[in-house]
């Protein structure tokens, strides 16, 4: 996988370097959650936590890229009324991908998935030192024009129980593991 080796030169943080980046690895696919498996109403508190470090906040803003100094310069952030560096709002993407590497919610990694749009609300800035917990619930799934849609309600809380982000995450997915395996072999397997 040459593209993964190419991308390694952009990895800066401990989390970026330790992350399982190969979404196509067969052994990883065995641990994914598929459209067929998703149970509506099932709620899970993901057992892993995301501890926010300054390097995570800075590296995300650099990668966007967004030059707003509130993401890089602690003195500037304090002058803006924050008590330190705050994360870019879309930093929550990194948090979700980091926490959902296997099991419940890992549909986010499915090869062949397509993004029809997301609804996100940010309630409180994510700060360096926050320890984030993710709660997810299967909200709905449906078939439309032959495509398999699913929607999850996801909520991120910090260690004090403060709600940081809530969102309805929607993806179009391959239906089953067998369809994913056919897709990665180059076969048409994404629609009913």
């Amino acid at each position: 996988m040459g593209y993964l080796e190419e991308m390694e030169k952009y990895q800066k943080t401990e989390k970026q370097k330790s992350f399982s980046a190969n979404f196509l690895e067969r052994q990883q696919i065995e641990d994914y959650e598929f459209w067929d498996d998703i149970e509506i109403g099932k709620e899970t508190v993901i057992p892993f936590k995301f501890e926010v470090k300054a390097e995570d906040v800075i590296a995300y803003a650099e990668g966007v890229p967004d030059s707003n100094p509130v993401f890089y310069d602690e003195e500037y952030a304090r002058a803006c009324g924050y008590d330190g560096l705050v994360a870019h709002p879309m930093f929550t993407n990194q948090v979700l991908f980091f926490l959902l590497q296997k099991g419940h919610g890992s549909w986010i990694r499915t090869p062949g998935s397509r993004n029809p749009g997301q609804i996100l609300e940010w309630h409180d800035p994510i700060r360096v030192g926050n320890i984030l917990t993710l709660k997810t619930k299967g909200y709905d799934k449906w078939i439309k024009r032959g495509k398999y849609y699913m929607r999850y309600l996801s909520e991120l809380y910090d260690q004090h129980g403060t709600l940081k982000m809530s969102g309805y995450m929607t993806l179009i997915l391959p239906k089953s593991k067998e369809d994913v395996l056919r897709f990665i072999k180059g076969e048409h397997a994404l629609e009913a």
Binding site: M1, Y3, F97
Partner: protein
């Protein structure tokens, strides 16, 4: 240099300045590394 806009200076219906960005595979890769979204549709050109 782009004009700096403030909250007070913008009115409903105003057209914001045009922004042009050249999106390369490198730009996409950097964002994928930042977000940990390594979905091959973004990262694997072949």
């Amino acid at each position: 240099m782009a004009q700096k806009l403030t909250f007070e200076s913008v009115k409903c219906g105003d057209m914001l300045p045009e922004v042009k960005e050249h999106i390369t595979q490198e730009v996409i890769w950097k964002h994928a590394v930042a977000s940990l979204d390594y979905n091959p549709v973004h990262t694997y050109p072949e």
